[in-house]
Amino acid sequence: MTKTLPAVLAVLFGLVVIWFLAVAPMNIRVALDVADRAGETVVPVKSLDRRDTSVWVLMANNAAFVADGYNLKRPRLPTPTQVGQELWKSTGAMVLKGRTWSKRSLIFHGWVTLRSTLWGFFLGTTTGILLAVAIVYSRAAEMSLMPWAVISQAVPIVALAPMIIVLSSQIGVEGRGFPKAVISAYLCFFPVLVGMVKGLRSPTSEQLDLLKTYSSSGMQGFLKLHVPASIPYLFTSLKVGIAAALVGAIVGELPTGAISGLGARILIGDQFGTPLAIWSALFAAAILAGALVTLLDRTQAIVLRKMGMRA
């Protein structure tokens, strides 16, 4: 940890520098259009001519306006500071003003997405564990389910998302939470299934033999050997699963015209042409993903230590 941290920070710093440098060529056209409309003289004068000129030539000829690209209201590529300010404006500043649950607050939208993610995570994990037990204990289940489980992940879930929403509203499930949770669960169950099958099969033949000499029943063997042995595998796949569940919740919001949730913020930002809203929602999603994975990682460390598995 102490050795990798400086390396990680250095790479992060490098990425931010590249981002900053990229802003100038990405935004020069927008900056020139804004300056042109404000009555400044830019080279070339006509916007049609500008479209045919490369960004590098534009930057060389209009050096005075390059800096404007870093302070646009609707940039093609916002600067890291702009994104940071927007994030703060829609989270921390809202809390300070006592409007945490306002419709403009990313905490509200993050909570909506988080709720679907957790429901989907719960559904998907349960499904994954149950299927894994079935697969480990029944050959017929393994042979019929396993190929379909693999195929299910090759099917692009986004294609199914609109249908899941149509179906669930017809069955009479109100609200958008349920279809989003189903999509999350669909992405989340597979890593859990694969991890648990591996984990439940991880006891060695010596360990199995030992239980036999104790004349333990099948149930005892399952509870006292197979389940504990599968816990490290379970946590590893839970970490993959929760990230997948978050992806599912956001994907579930994108094509469906949802109005709340981080995915909906991205959608609305796209429709209203406010790139800063898209970028801040993206970063909020990244922070949420990081927090969820870290939380599971800590839980894993504590649980495994309590079980006496890792010093």
């Binding site: 250095a10 992060l12 379909w148 195929i151 090759a154 099917v155 249908m163 990230a243 898209i278």
Partner: protein, 281 residues
């Protein structure tokens, strides 16, 4: 009611057949290995068909598989056009560009242990992020046609392949590297003859993950704007105009394309890394 009885009988028969087959002494033959999952899939279709007829579910909500099949056969031209736009132009090109970029980056980074150390955690983190969210940004940068779809796919597949390749390149152990040194082999020779082959199982792991992501990226990007063709376009307009059977036909195409894509990558993996323990089973 008849439909329900039929479905029940079919389900019971398939259930018993599968159990008998799986526990029979032919359970390891290829024929049985194929029959069991196929029977499972057919059973689901039969139950679906029966439920739709038994409860008279409107085709605007859930069409029967037979209707979807009929629509599929009637609109193969349109489906092919969409397939070409989304899969061949968007997903496949993006996948190839992203994979090549990730492999090259991995080899370059690998020369510096410091960079590798810094990039692995970041790459792992980014690979877990909901990157599909960048789709609207890229559509506004690269326009409505396949370029923006390919760009989304490039970003989505880049990190899983990069992380796996970087990890794979560390796979060759010290003994093997020492051996190459005693042969006085150059950096390139060691890379091509030892380290890259040793990394292949990891590379293919990344390629397989990326294969499933590529189609998702291409379809999502079409929800944010596309020319009047493409699978994502057809699905979103199909839901709006209640031509649900066409939507299901597109889903079937997407499912087949996704499975075939994954299958091809897995098949190449089997041919190329036949020596690895996981393939010898």
């Amino acid at each position: 009611m008849n439909w329900l009885i039929l479905a029940g009988v079919f389900w019971a028969a398939a259930f018993i057949t599968n159990i008998v087959l799986a526990n029979s002494r032919w359970s390891h033959t290829t024929l049985v290995r194929l029959t069991i999952p196929v029977l499972f899939g057919v059973t689901i279709l039969v139950i679906w068909e029966a439920l739709v007829h038994a409860f008279g579910i409107s085709a605007a909500i859930l069409p029967a598989p037979s209707d979807v099949g009929a629509t599929f056969m009637n609109s193969t031209d349109m489906l092919w056009e969409d397939f070409r736009q989304t899969v061949l132009k968007g997903a496949l090109r993006g996948y190839v560009i992203g994979a090549v970029a990730a492999l090259v980056t991995a080899v370059l980074i690998d020369r510096s242990p410091f960079l590798t150390q810094g990039l692995l955690p970041i790459g792992n983190f980014v690979a877990a992020l909901p990157i599909v969210g960048v789709a609207p940004i890229l559509v506004s940068w690269f326009g409505f046609d396949w370029h923006s779809k390919a760009a989304v796919v490039v970003i989505m597949v880049f990190f899983p392949i990069l992380v796996n390749t970087v990890q794979g390149l560390r796979e060759a152990d010290a003994m093997q590297r020492d051996l190459m040194k005693t042969y006085a082999s150059s950096y390139m020779q060691t890379l091509i003859k030892l380290r890259f082959p040793a990394a292949l199982p990891f590379v293919f792991n990344g390629l397989k993950i990326a294969a499933t992501l590529a189609l998702i990226g291409a379809i999502v990007a079409e929800y944010f704007g596309s020319p009047t063709r493409g699978m994502g376009f057809r699905i979103s307009t199909g839901v709006g105009s209640l031509s649900i059977d066409l939507v299901w036909a597109e889903i079937a195409v997407a499912a087949m394309a996704g499975t075939a894509f994954y299958g091809v990558v897995a098949w190449i993996e089997k041919k190329v890394t036949y020596w690895h323990p996981s393939q010898r089973g």
